[in-house]
């Protein structure tokens, strides 16, 4: 049961990062252009999916609460102020999708909310992961860092890194869904973003080595884990190739693969801890009666349906976004 729910949790987080990752990334890129036609095309490329994508965040939250209550309680309370910023960002960004087209004089307000909200939410997500990798100040199972215990140069660095990562994911999505200017712009951005991301990863690696993070010890113990970075490298090579040859469909999958590799790397560095190095999966698991009740209903029947629905949604909206079909 515990294994099953850890697996479902991992799938939900990964789906969230990949799916909301690209639409948050497009949101950040949105702020970098001021051309109305391009902005509409960018919105059109994500508006059918963003809401469903974000639902995976809620799924992640409730699985944590139901199946691993101490982790839910510790993480959310420790990251009190950052999560506030993230939620505010997600709300403003969510309503901007809808309100911007109705605004007459206040469109700039919603444009700003959309780009700013996307950026804020992304930055916070990267920062929390960074703070977790570095290790939260937790004593006897209770967070003891105060209002700003999560704040560190490393965490901020990871926040910036995730912004680069989501922007790369977003750019590769635009390549896939758009045509003309927007696609060409995105193609031009991908190399810069990729190099930026690579530089970020190197800095993070160096920082972790220099700072003697405990997570690093796991890598020395288990050298076979290098398979994940290796997958990432191969994906990056194929990405470069597909960008040079303008294969619209491919870059997104390659960037996604890089994210999967990074996710796998992180997950295995943490294992068996959920909050390194204070709460393990077994410490955190809810009583069997809770996990079993979740499994026999939502786990066994509803979860597969949710996956099927997401797949159907994406297949309905497959292919390029035609300007004529754009509702704006």
């Amino acid at each position: 049961m515990v294994t099953y729910w850890i697996a479902v949790l991992a799938i939900s987080i990964l789906l969230y990062v990949l799916l909301d990752g690209f639409d948050l990334g497009v949101g950040i890129l949105f702020g970098a252009t001021s051309d109305e036609t391009k902005r509409r095309a960018m919105l059109g490329a994500i508006s059918p999916m963003w809401d469903g994508n974000e639902t995976w965040l809620v799924v992640t939250g409730v699985i944590l609460w139901g199946a691993f209550p101490p982790v839910y309680a510790t993480l959310l309370s420790a990251f009190y102020l950052p999560l506030l910023v993230m939620i505010a960002g997600l709300i403003l960004r969510g309503v901007s999708f809808e309100f911007r087209s109705k605004a007459t004089t206040a469109r700039w307000l919603w444009d700003w909310s959309f780009a700013g909200g996307s950026f804020a939410a992304t930055f916070i997500q990267g920062m929390t992961v960074g703070a977790l990798v570095e290790g939260l100040p937790i004593r006897n199972g209770v967070y003891a860092g105060g209002d700003f215990g999560w704040l560190s140069p490393f965490a901020v660095l990871c926040g910036i890194g995730l912004c680069l990562g989501y922007m790369l994911l977003g750019a590769s999505w635009l390549v896939r869904k758009c045509e003309d200017d927007v696609r060409d712009n995105a193609y031009r951005l991908i190399p810069y973003l990729s190099v930026g991301l690579l530089a970020f990863l190197l800095v993070v690696f160096g920082y972790a080595l220099a700072g003697d993070f405990r997570v690093m010890g796991r890598w020395l113990e288990r050298p076979y884990l290098l398979i994940f970075p290796a997958i990432g490298v191969i994906a990056a090579i194929v990405l470069a190739h597909s960008v040079r040859h303008r294969r619209d469909g491919k870059p997104f999958y390659m960037v996604a693969l890089i994210f999967v590799a990074a996710f796998g790397t992180l997950a295995i560095s943490f294992w068996p801890y959920m909050i390194p190095f204070s709460i393990t999966i077994d410490d955190a698991a809810a009583p069997h009666a809770s996990l079993a009740f979740m499994f026999w209903g939502e786990g066994l029947f509803v979860f597969p349906l949710m996956l099927i629905y997401a797949a159907v949604n994406y297949s309905v909206f497959r292919g390029k976004v035609r300007p004529t079909a754009d509702h704006y």
């Binding site: 139901g66 209550p69 999560l83 909206f317 704006y328």
Partner: protein
Amino acid sequence: MDITALLLSRLQFAFTISFHIIFPSFTIGLAAWLTLLEAMHRATGRPAYRVVFEFWLKIFGVAFGLGVVSGVVMAFEFGTNWSAFAAKMGPIQGVLLSYETFTAFFLEASFFGILLFGRSRVPPWFYLFSTAMVALGTTFSAFWIMVNNSWMQVPVGYAPMNGTFGPADWFKILFNGVVWVRFPHMLLASYLTGAFCVAATGAWYLLRGEFHAEARIMLRMGLFLGAVLVPLQLLFGHLVGDYVHDSQPVKFATIEARWHDEQPASEVLIAWPDEAEQTNHYAISIPILGSLIGSMSFTSKEVGLTDFPVQDRPPVAIPFFTFRIMVGCGLAMLLIAWLGSYMSLKERLGQNRLMLWLIFLSFPLPWIAILTGWFTAEVGRQPWVVYGVMRTAEAMTPFLTTRAATISLVVFCAVYSFIFAFGVLYIYRLLRAGPAGQLVLPPHAAIPNRPMSVLDDHHVPGAPQIGAGE
């Protein structure tokens, strides 16, 4: 009272949850109403039903979207502000809310897209089915929330399990009597919200002399629904009162502002309760009625607040007054629904502007009743978060600072006011525009999962248009 992180967290939770409940209570009712309209259209073939359906679907979209964004906050707030509670109660309440996410959000999201954009792509029977599924999804959501809250009011079927409260008996948790009176109470309240908003809109159009056919459908269906459902709601309200009487005697005494044991007990209609003096000022009360309401008896003894230690009593004034406001709204709704239905049957409603004005102005009543009803239930449960098991003061994140709690409260107030103002503005514009002949079908590559995008329909160049009389 000192400004503490606890007080601020309570204010924040009260504010965010009150803001949130405004939208689901409307959309639950509206989804059911849309299903009814679509079924009527299928059965009778009258085009006016279809026009009214398309019109309310747009409003449904906006309200649904605001409900979704304000709901995401709730999923986080238990962990940020109430982490001690979240850690201890997660094995029961986290599981219940995970069921809400999996069953309700999934159904809503799946069929909502078809509802907004799929009419031309699916057979008519499937469209009706989709409408019903959205209504079912919102109902599931309400169900899990009511199971969850009922467990906090009357915790059953739990046992201590390594430092937390674990589920000992899921059957008891899901199928106890409290759930099954409170869930219908909430569901009926939502239906009434929908019914009164629809009737009020109809009355508004008649007052303005517009959209006669549609306005008459809205008025009639809304009023008739209200005329049947309000009495039913009063009955369920009474049943909810019975469970409070039996399971939460201190809350019952608070609502009644009964300070001392009485036999037979009188009923305080209105008064100014004074906690310091433990008495009521300016009280108007009726002898014996208290026993009759509490125990259906002329002689029963009813307990008073002084039977309970001061630290176990809720604040008296809020539950006392909110309960009376709720009941007052209910009675006013009964009057309006019955009188309006009677006049409508006699075909005299259209000429009576006073009555139309009354109906038009009645649309806030269900919301006020829902909010004050929840205030009664939640404030009346204090000082417990889980009644008799965990105190609210023990539920809070132990290291939450006043500074952090102040910041978050201010941010939520600002953001919510901002989006609420614009959301209301857009709904108002839709209502004012009315179900005119500008009925527009969505474009082909339309967009599910985008509740509010319906608003954009009339901007679509080249979208196929159908007239009101299609």
